[in-house]
């Protein structure tokens, strides 16, 4: 997919799903900055292995609070 096609698809998706129009040129520039975020996100694929069990961040906070604590 060309950059131009991808850009048009993004605009259509945002307008369709959210009803939001690009408010200014800066917003379009910052939309373009997502390219790096997407690359970074995709680069993480397969790099982490976690157990497939229900996870709660609040519970993780409590559990992590005691890690390494010495008497």
């Amino acid at each position: 997919m060309s950059e131009k096609t991808k850009f048009v698809n993004d605009m259509v998706a945002i307008a369709t799903w959210h009803g939001v129009q690009p408010p200014n040129e800066v917003a379009l520039r910052m939309l373009g900055d997502l390219e790096k975020l997407i690359r970074d996100f995709e680069a993480l694929r397969g790099t982490m292995r976690f157990e497939d069990e229900p996870a709660s961040f609040e519970v993780a906070l409590v559990e992590a609070a005691s890690i390494g604590v010495r008497a």
Binding site: D10, G19, L34, F41, L44, L61, A65, G68
Partner: protein, 477 residues
């Protein structure tokens, strides 16, 4: 350059509170000192959105009368405070730094406001802030940019810009800020004051304007770590009106400030947080590590795990949640946001829901993996709060700057944002000045719910340094 004069507004919050309790200073005199500084310098600094002097004098007189009558007094009795203008107080303006909520007056109060009031403090002003808490620089198109009291051309940091500037300028003894990606720690660092972002869920968010449900935190900015400890003891703890708040016991944070760091292991990351570091910042951080060592701590060089994942997932979560919260206004009245605000939110609508869910679902496992590797070796982490020397307002003004300005502005929070995703307590304290005379911040972070350890290290450092006691000589405009 430091100002030569002295006034009671130079007292730390703890010193002021203790002086009121002992009858050495009246609540009225504290208020008058703060208002005198405000009247002298507010035009230059622009730290407030509203000030209610009449209510303040009524509250101060009532505090003095209560003390004269005898009976128990709260730990913050008679203290005039001012807060980021997003803490709801029934019947008072809460603009959230915006044009959209310029006239918003809530009919209920935030839990933290009620707890501070119960401890004897009163609020007399709403402080300037980034619009809807959405930038790290302190720019505000609707209420005017907040200016750094150390040099008015420079940023205050944000989003709690007025909180940092008002504490440094001696307009108030302390201020609540909020922190979603660094918004307490950045202005603390930029203004040369102390500020702590507590563990996620440690402090109630009821009655506080939301930005990111997953990463918003409430915390204080004040002159010293000890000041922050006193406020944390008042505001922390479970709140039935905020079901996300943790049912964990709240220690007496101030009682733990012994100055003794013997046996404390402090990790100093060799990567990520020190990448592209400006030389004066590096020198200040290394000097700070020596001070902590002098108090008995052991510095442990280390590489932190999972930082790429933390930084990437944090960016996804914050962008999506900020965009979602403001979606209705982005549809109906996008022109009422400043350019740098609506432009920042817009990309959030293009991020797939699957990315967001993945970023959130990995948060707990990543925290546990990070904690197992890091906190099995050390008790605390120290890093720079901001990697670079402070930039000017002009250099980070997205609305009027050339393409690329947004990277300069958004890069401010590179070292703070990871601790929001991880949910860890993290504090910034002043540790020096750069070549332009602007403050440098030291970031101290710890295990979940280890605010006591973080505050202890900050207080120990401040026993041997005086960066936190310095006062800016504010230029006239």
């Amino acid at each position: 350059m430091m100002a030569a004069r002295l006034d009671v507004a130079d007292l730390s919050l703890v010193e002021a509170a203790d002086a009121v309790r002992k009858g050495e200073v009246s609540a009225i005199s504290l208020l008058e000192a703060c208002l005198a500084n405000l009247d002298s310098h507010e035009e230059a600094v622009n730290a407030t959105i509203w000030v209610d002097k009449e209510a303040a004098f009524t509250a101060a007189r009532a505090a003095d009368a209560k003390r004269a009558a005898g009976g128990p007094l709260g730990p913050l009795h008679g203290l005039p405070l001012a807060h980021k203008d997003m803490y709801y107080q029934a019947g008072r303006l809460s603009s959230c730094g915006s044009a959209i909520r310029r006239d918003f007056v809530p009919d209920y109060s935030a839990t933290v406001i009620e707890r501070l009031s119960a401890a004897g403090a009163y609020a007399f002003a709403g402080l300037n802030m980034a619009e809807f808490a959405q930038n790290g620089t302190g720019h505000n198109r609707h209420h005017g940019d907040c200016r750094n009291p150390w040099n008015l051309s420079y940023i205050t940091g944000g989003s709690s810009s007025g909180s940092g500037a008002a504490v440094a300028s001696r307009f108030t003894f302390a201020a609540l800020g909020s922190d979603t990606g660094g918004s307490i720690r950045l202005p603390a660092a930029a203004n040369g004051v102390s500020g702590i972002k507590p563990t996620q869920t440690r402090v109630s968010r009821y009655g506080v304007m939301p930005l990111s449900f997953s990463a918003d935190n409430v915390g204080p900015l004040a002159r010293t770590a000890r000041d922050c400890a006193r406020i944390m003891s008042v505001i922390a703890g479970y709140d039935p009106r905020d079901p996300t708040s943790a049912e964990m016991p709240v220690p007496d944070y101030e009682a733990g400030l012994t100055g003794d760091l013997r046996g404390i292991r402090i990790g100093m990351p060799s990567t990520y947080f020190l990448d592209e570091l400006d030389a004066p910042v590096r020198a200040a951080i290394e000097a700070a590590a020596s001070v902590l060592t002098g108090r008995g701590a052991t510095i442990v060089p280390m590489t932190l795990p999972l930082m790429d994942a933390v930084a990437t997932y944090a960016a996804v979560v914050s962008r999506v949640e900020g965009a979602a919260i403001h979606a209705e206004w982005m549809r109906q009245r996008p022109q009422d946001f400043a350019t740098h605000i609506n432009a920042r939110m817009f990309p959030g609508y293009a991020i797939p829901a699957t990315y967001y869910v993945e970023a959130l679902s990995r948060r707990g496992p990543i925290l546990k993996a990070f904690a197992k590797e890091v906190f099995s070796q050390v008790d605390l982490l120290v890093t720079p709060t901001i990697r670079t020397c402070l930039p000017t307002l002009a250099a980070t003004d997205i609305d009027s700057g050339p393409p690329g300005t947004e990277q300069a502005a958004l890069g401010i929070s590179t070292n703070t944002r990871p601790f929001n995703y991880l949910g860890l307590p993290s504090m910034s304290i002043p540790c020096g000045f750069d070549l332009n005379g602007l403050p440098i911040g030291l970031q101290i972070s710890g295990r979940p719910f280890a605010e006591a350890a973080v505050l202890q290290a900050g207080d120990a450092y401040q026993r041997d340094t005086d960066w936190h006691a310095r006062r800016p000589a504010i230029a006239a405009v």
